[in-house]
Amino acid sequence: MLEVKGLTKRFGGNVAVKSVDYSVQQGKINAIIGPNGAGKSTFFNLITGVHEPTEGTIIYKNEEITRQPANVIAKLGVARTFQSTHLFEMSTVKDNVIVGHRLRTKSNLFDSIFRTKRLKEEEQQCIAKAEESLDFVGLSHVSDQLVTNISQEEKKRVAFALALATDPEIVFLDEPTAGVNPDETDEMAKLIQKMADKGLTICLIEHKMPMIMRLAHHIMVLNYGEKIAEGTPAEIQKNEEVIKAYLGGTVSA
């Protein structure tokens, strides 16, 4: 469904991503791993429109989206989370998530000022969507709390809910469990699995190998911006080059 060809990104003289060909498998959990600085986050940023690629093409559902801005890409059904969650701390969890569905609504300033039927309907729709997403990530019980008051892990879930509220077909998750303890990592993994079960396509960056190996259907490995391997978890675990560059001896830890 999503395919990139010869994707390259240079920052000045630095090549962060070097002619990567890759295609995402629909409805599956796709993982991207690689040493620090390998270009994983940059790769995500290129696809989701945060950075413009230097070279290469990105095709989503047979449509080229290479230089589209992030908001257009999001509208097409591509959602993402950020490593650090920026939420509006002084408003409630629900209020934060409501805006996630804004891209599916059409009301404009006119509707707002005259409170047209369309606006009221769409507001309801956004609220319903927010509630649904919060329910999905298991946060219904805190939906009326201010964001400042919820825990770090709950904030990460709010970020998921926000992404889900955009009605995506494919979700990019950049280290969603960094700094989360193993117990909670398991919970997050379950949530990711649940998203996949719902039919969403997932792309995931993580350094937590046990989790990746358990969750992912397909793994791509980046090193110095280049794709060095691709395959099932079992294949990747055995790949000499990957072990040397990335995994070391701890694959099973």
């Binding site: 040493p35 620090n36 825990s151 193993p182 117990d183 350094h207 701890t250």
Partner: protein, 235 residues
């Protein structure tokens, strides 16, 4: 060497940590475990003086330091490598490291040596030595933060989740490095999610829950504790 006696601290009006007692003996590696938001980082900030303890005492080599300014604490030999790294984003890697050695600024030769040591520890930093810290990847920044703390040649190093966002290979190397740093004579207080790896190199550990210490014991005791295994090791 370091003793926390009934320490509490708060952000704004609400207590984040309550009645924390910790005892670190010289030469040890001590691990703090706990869920997110349990209070590990808060403890670190309180020790390094960024946050003032609202009650309790902190003694470093029997000298009370809970009223001491952060920079004095650094001079006394306690250096923290913070969770959010707190690098100087527009300085390049080498300048960041040199700033790490600020308290030894008069001893140029020693700084040079430490710099080389860091580059040896993390070769990637050498490659990137002329690049601005803010442009490094997450993992590279983490290495730089540790390297910067190392430059101060502390007696006690506080490492707050150093393995966050690091590739497995690097994590492995990093625990190796921590062990080395420790063997060179630096005492280490370490907060970690990666409980197994941390406990494997540690002498003892404390488990946090809701801002209080729920459990403490030697590394072996904790490793064999069922609850700890379940919650933090995921086995």
């Amino acid at each position: 060497m370091l003793k926390l006696d009934g320490v509490s601290a708060k952000y704004g009006k609400y207590l984040s940590i309550k009645d924390i007692d910790i005892d670190v003996v010289e030469g040890e590696i001590v691990v703090l475990l706990g869920a997110n938001g349990a209070g590990k980082s808060t403890t670190f900030k309180t020790i390094s003086g960024l946050l003032k303890a609202t009650s309790g005492k902190i003694l470093f080599n029997d000298v009370p330091i809970h009223q001491t300014a952060p920079e004095k604490i650094v001079q006394m030999g306690i250096v923290q490598c913070a969770e959010d790294r707190k690098l100087f984003p527009y300085m390049n890697v080498e300048q960041n490291l040199m700033m790490g050695g600020y308290i030894h600024r008069k001893r140029k030769a020693q700084l040079k040596q430490s710099l080389n040591d860091v580059f040896e520890l993390f070769p990637i930093l050498y490659e990137k030595r002329n690049e601005a810290a803010g442009l490094l990847s997450g993992g590279q920044q983490q290495m730089l933060a540790i390297g910067r703390a190392y430059m101060a040649k502390p007696k006690l190093m506080l490492l707050d989740e150093p393995s966050i966002g690091l590739a497995p290979l690097i994590v492995e190397q990093m625990f190796e490095s921590i062990k080395n740093i420790n063997q060179e004579g630096t005492t280490i207080l370490l907060a970690e999610q990666n409980a197994f790896a941390a406990l494997s190199i540690a002498k003892k550990g404390y488990v946090y829950e809701n801002g209080q210490i729920a459990l403490q014991g030697t590394a072996d005791e904790l490793l064999s504790n069922q609850e700890v295994r379940k919650a933090y090791i995921g086995a």
